[in-house]
Symmetry: C2
Subunit: 181 residues, 2 copies
């Protein structure tokens, strides 16, 4: 698939604000970046999970390789609102909110408007299937000096271009509502 013009714009903006491999892989084009996996690697993250027992009586733990992420989860903490554990959708929401906020900061900085603060909430809807059918991001951003049009352009570029948004492109509905504060 040929990248559209707007995707090229995003890549160019990124070249100044996201880290490069050597040689910078985006100079070689998107197709190359995907195929030449060894040369293009920017970072590798590791995590794990353990589940013991059946779906309803069992229990599990999700854990990242850093020391900051370790949480129990059960059928009840995933489907019945039990606050005694976390669930995969909560992690997906945190990852999406985190990636979007960081990416938006990079976009705004490249555009000459470094942000003071960006806050994003994510609401992840698990529906029948079961399917993650909708993710709603709501952002409030303190960005000194920016006009609303430029701000909304960078929001839209971040919604399309942040790595987690791209990975979640199969989710039927992803919405972003952003305002300056």
């Amino acid at each position: 698939m040929e990248p559209s013009r707007s995707e090229t714009d995003i890549d160019e903006a990124l070249a100044e604000s996201f880290p490069a491999s050597d040689p910078p892989s985006w100079t070689l084009g998107e197709e190359h970046a995907i195929r030449d996996t060894r040369g293009a690697t920017m970072a590798i993250a590791k995590a794990e999970a353990t589940w013991t027992g059946t779906l309803k009586e069992g229990a599990g733990t999700m854990k990242g390789s850093s020391r900051f992420l370790e949480g129990p989860y059960t059928y009840r903490s995933r489907f019945e609102g039990d606050g005694g554990g976390t669930n995969p959708e909560e992690l997906i929401g945190a990852a999406h909110a985190g990636c979007f906020s960081m990416f938006l900061a990079a976009q705004l900085t490249t555009a000459g408007f470094p942000p003071a603060r960006i806050h994003t909430t994510a609401t992840v809807h698990l529906e029948a299937g079961p399917t993650i059918a909708r993710i709603e991001l709501v952002t409030e951003a303190d960005v000194p000096g920016i006009d609303d049009q430029t701000f909304q352009e960078k929001v839209e570029a971040s919604k399309r271009g942040c790595p987690v948004s791209k990975a979640l492109a199969a989710v039927p509905s992803i919405t972003v509502s952003a305002r300056r504060v």
Copy 2:
């Protein structure tokens, strides 16, 4: 898109092991499940993130609504291996490993082989773009009495059918390697 036969099989297996709305939304067909979002909602998860400052000098926090998930992240903890923080890809990996393991437990239980223990590691590759280009799941499972063919069938069904796998379907490469222990 018409669901393939194997997807129908997965839905039928799920009807016995995943929670139902009232009436069970999967009895109404996949199309209905996606469109009738109110009736089909199984669970809603919330999370948030805050980023202050520019991409390289700034810092952020990702947080879930449960008390189990709160981690700092920076440019360095995302791209340069700094263990002083987490990153969105680590959360994606934990969510995928967790969802896959739980889903596999449900599949195995429905097939008459409740698992004693399932352990899954996830390795998430962030490549140029930046793009999450590859996710590798490696599973070891203690499943008393099961034959290898049935086990691998349930692994494959979980790879295709777990909610996080479906949400991440745009990731160019997702691999699962599973063995019984």
